[in-house]
């Protein structure tokens, strides 16, 4: 591979506190050789490729901590190849794949399968998560040590929460010793049983059973109590309500160490968007009130929330063309994660470096991977975008195999132009 000189870029690397016009050199191994304003136009060797980025933004490739792939079992919804294409067009170069497949990822042999498929079919970096409990039943913990050694990045029951407090306390106790990352989907199953949308005026009007914010808050409170006794690497996958933010703030003030994520959906949409039973907006956690959304945005800006995820959950049209209560839960999002996040920047609600950190170095740090930054020697995983370019979402132009985008026809500002993985431009907008 020839050396590549990416010049005239606005380089934003929150980990290294960098936001400057400059360049980036990719060496012959596809790694970052140098970066910053010192990489100027003048001294480019004649045998190197020169790519002029025309002052567009260059950030580390996005790390998305919550993505559902259909393999194995739901290949008709998404496979590694289609996911890769979708992710690349969204500037996402690393994803944590959720274990809610069929069969579920709860044993070592499944990890081998995933790694092989990921290697053969995927163009992006796949970091597989395994389940917290066998068969996602919430009873018997999986083999954290063995799975981790095989390459599992973290443990989560994905769309489910471990309900039994004794099981959860033991999981956290045990995870501590193997330094395993626990990613909890916080939802009390009994409080949210049969619930479809946020409990409130909209659920009353639509006649749909509500999911109270308490279902989330009570699990976060429980787990944070456990954390005091059983320290482990604990991450709350997604939160959705203002009340949960207060719990998290208080715990952080008390000195507890843990991290928190939020779905871009809960930052960009609210329960009113469900309108006349739009099943594409049936999500978990549910979209809540505008007040909740505003609080979540503030929490991203002030650092209470560490990570923004796409919660990319492809569902085929058939499983969405049903009544609201029968329809599948989830929306695609890996392709629209960055443009939607940029809305918060354009609206002056979140500082750009905070936004970029929440999708690059913050998740990388939680996961303990050498991604999400422009450190010298790192793989050159890069996302280059036009920060102002307006465009309109059209589901037929999205690359994901499933078309259940929650933001169809939405006007966006900010478009991905190029995505590099290991120094190669695998996506280029034409």
């Amino acid at each position: 591979m020839k050396e590549k000189y990416l010049i005239n870029a606005r380089i934003i690397d929150p980990k290294n506190d960098m936001d400057e016009i400059g360049g980036l050199i990719i060496d012959s191994k596809g790694q970052i050789k140098d970066v910053g304003k010192k990489v100027a136009n003048g001294n480019i060797p004649s045998d190197a490729d020169k790519i002029d980025l025309k002052n567009h933004a260059l950030i580390p490739g996005i790390v998305d901590m919550r993505v559902f792939v259909g393999e194995p079992g739901f290949e008709y919804k998404e496979n590694f190849r289609t996911l890769s294409n979708a992710a690349l067009s969204g500037g996402v170069t690393s994803v944590v794949s959720m274990p809610n497949t069929s069969p579920v990822i709860d044993n070592v042999s499944m990890v081998d399968f995933l790694k092989r498929r990921g290697r053969d079919k995927s163009l992006i970096n796949i970091f597989p998560a395994a389940t917290l409990t066998k068969n996602i039943e919430g009873r018997q913990m999986t083999e954290f040590g063995l799975l981790k050694r095989k390459g599992i990045i973290g443990f989560t029951d994905g769309i489910k929460t471990v309900q039994d407090p004794q099981v959860m306390s033991r999981i956290m106790n045990f995870a501590g010793q193997s330094d395993s990352l626990i990613m909890q989907h916080a939802e009390d199953n009994i409080l949210s049983k049969n619930g479809l949308i946020n409990e409130g005026e909209i659920s009353t009007r639509l006649g749909l059973k509500g999911i109270p914010f308490l279902a989330e808050k009570i699990i976060v409170e429980r787990d944070l109590s456990f954390l005091e006794e059983y320290f482990c690497r604990y991450h709350i996958s997604q939160i959705s309500s203002e009340k949960t933010i207060s719990v998290i703030k208080k715990a952080k003030d008390e000195g507890k160490i843990f991290t928190t994520g939020v779905s871009i959906n809960n930052l960009s949409l609210n329960e009113n968007d469900i309108g006349d039973f739009k099943t594409f907006l049936k999500l978990s956690p549910p979209l809540r009130t505008e007040n909740d959304r505003i609080s979540l945005v503030k929490a991203v800006n002030d650092g209470t929330i560490d990570v923004i995820v796409s919660d990319h959950k492809p569902e085929d049209e058939e499983s969405k063309r049903l009544t609201f209560s029968q329809a599948a839960t989830g929306a695609t999002g890996v392709e629209t994660l960055l443009p939607l996040a940029l809305e918060l920047y354009h609206n002056k609600k979140v500082k750009l470096n905070k936004l970029v950190a929440s999708i690059t170095c913050n998740p990388a740090k939680i996961l303990g991977i050498n991604k999400g930054s422009l450190d010298k020697g790192n793989d050159a995983d890069l996302c280059i975008f036009d920060i102002d370019k307006p465009w309109v979402v059209n589901k037929n132009e999205l690359k994901s195999k499933s078309k259940n985008t929650p933001v169809e026809k939405r006007r966006m500002q900010g478009q991905i132009l190029k995505t590099f993985v290991k120094g190669e431009a695998l996506y280029e907008r034409v």
Partner: protein, 316 residues
């Protein structure tokens, strides 16, 4: 793909009766005025006219129903329509067919009107997006039961002359009740003041935002009311820990002569049926011909449904 696009292109803008929320005041007035003319017809010797002759009405009931289904069936027949009631128990839905596939199948038979009852809120809305005929909601989940509210309004108008300015109490399981929701919208629209009375566990979140006052003390809620609408309390509510027992419920939320005394002397008692005597209503009160208009509601129900069928069928 091309075929589907073509179908979409020829699909006309339809008028459906999906809920009171979608109706304007003039549409409601039109339905009620039309229904008044059918009250007389329903009492006459020959009850059949032919304004819907040649039209096909399909009743699609996914939930068991006695009065609503027979009321719609009778209404259609009296207007001269060909009425078919689908028996869901034996149908393809039980074999796993989705609502949309069922809708497309029925649509191919060119019905003019589909009356649907479904356990899922929003099912009629979904159906209406997929068929080329008028859809009438006969009750969906806990969302709406528009014809019930319309017949309640007609009953009130029949007895009290108007709805405007009246004070109406709706009592019981508001949380699970589509009748309550439709009545709240309609009575508010017609200018009544609405109180809802229920134990807190059976009051939906933010119900006040729908324009009602909520009460947990039945006597306070009934104070000065012209109309007392009782709702059915389903037995399964006792199991979900919504309530401690039927006995406790009756003590605090059952309609008894003592509590009814708080309402106006000439207050009317209404109930959408079927009643649980001794659970939500004192059995003597239910049968008191001076106070209870429960049977009149059923009678006027046919007239209201005839009006709805006529208006929504002929618009298309």
């Amino acid at each position: 793909m091309a075929v589907i696009k073509k179908l979409k292109a020829v699909k006309k803008e339809q008028n459906h009766l999906l809920g009171i929320q979608d109706l304007s005041f003039s549409q409601v007035s039109n339905i009620l005025n039309q229904a008044k003319t059918f009250i007389t017809l329903n009492k006459s010797e020959s009850k059949k006219i032919d304004i819907l002759r040649g039209k096909t009405q399909i009743n699609l009931f996914f939930e068991p129903s006695t009065r609503t289904q027979s009321s719609f069936e009778l209404a259609g027949k009296r207007l001269g329509a060909d009425v078919m009631s689908m028996n869901i128990i034996n149908s393809a839905i039980k074999k796993g067919e989705t609502l949309i596939d069922t809708a497309m199948t029925l649509n191919a038979m060119h019905p003019d009107i589909i009356v649907i009852r479904h356990q899922d809120s929003g099912a009629p809305n979904l159906l209406s997006q997929k068929v080329n005929c008028a859809v009438i909601n006969a009750g969906d989940g806990r969302r709406e039961h528009p014809t019930q509210a319309l017949l309640d309004a007609l009953t009130i108008i029949n007895r009290k002359g108007k709805v405007e300015g009246l004070k109406i109490a709706i009592c019981g399981d508001i949380l699970h009740s589509r009748v309550a929701r439709s009545n709240i919208y309609l009575m508010n629209m017609l200018g009544a003041e609405v109180n809802v009375i229920a134990p807190k566990t059976l009051l939906p979140h933010s119900i006040e935002r729908l324009g009602v006052k909520s009460f947990v003390d039945m006597k306070k809620g009934l104070d000065g009311c012209d109309i007392v609408m009782m709702l059915r309390l389903q037995n399964e509510r006792m199991h979900g820990s919504f309530l401690p027992s039927a006995r406790e419920y009756y003590e605090y939320f059952g309609l008894t002569p003592d509590k009814l005394n708080m309402a106006k002397k000439d207050a009317l008692i209404m109930h959408p049926g079927p009643m649980n005597r001794g659970v939500e209503i004192d059995t003597n009160l239910a049968d008191d011909i001076n106070r209870s208009v429960i049977r009149e509601q059923v009678e006027l129900g046919v007239a209201v449904r005839m009006a709805c069928l006529k208006i929504f069928c002929n618009k298309n």
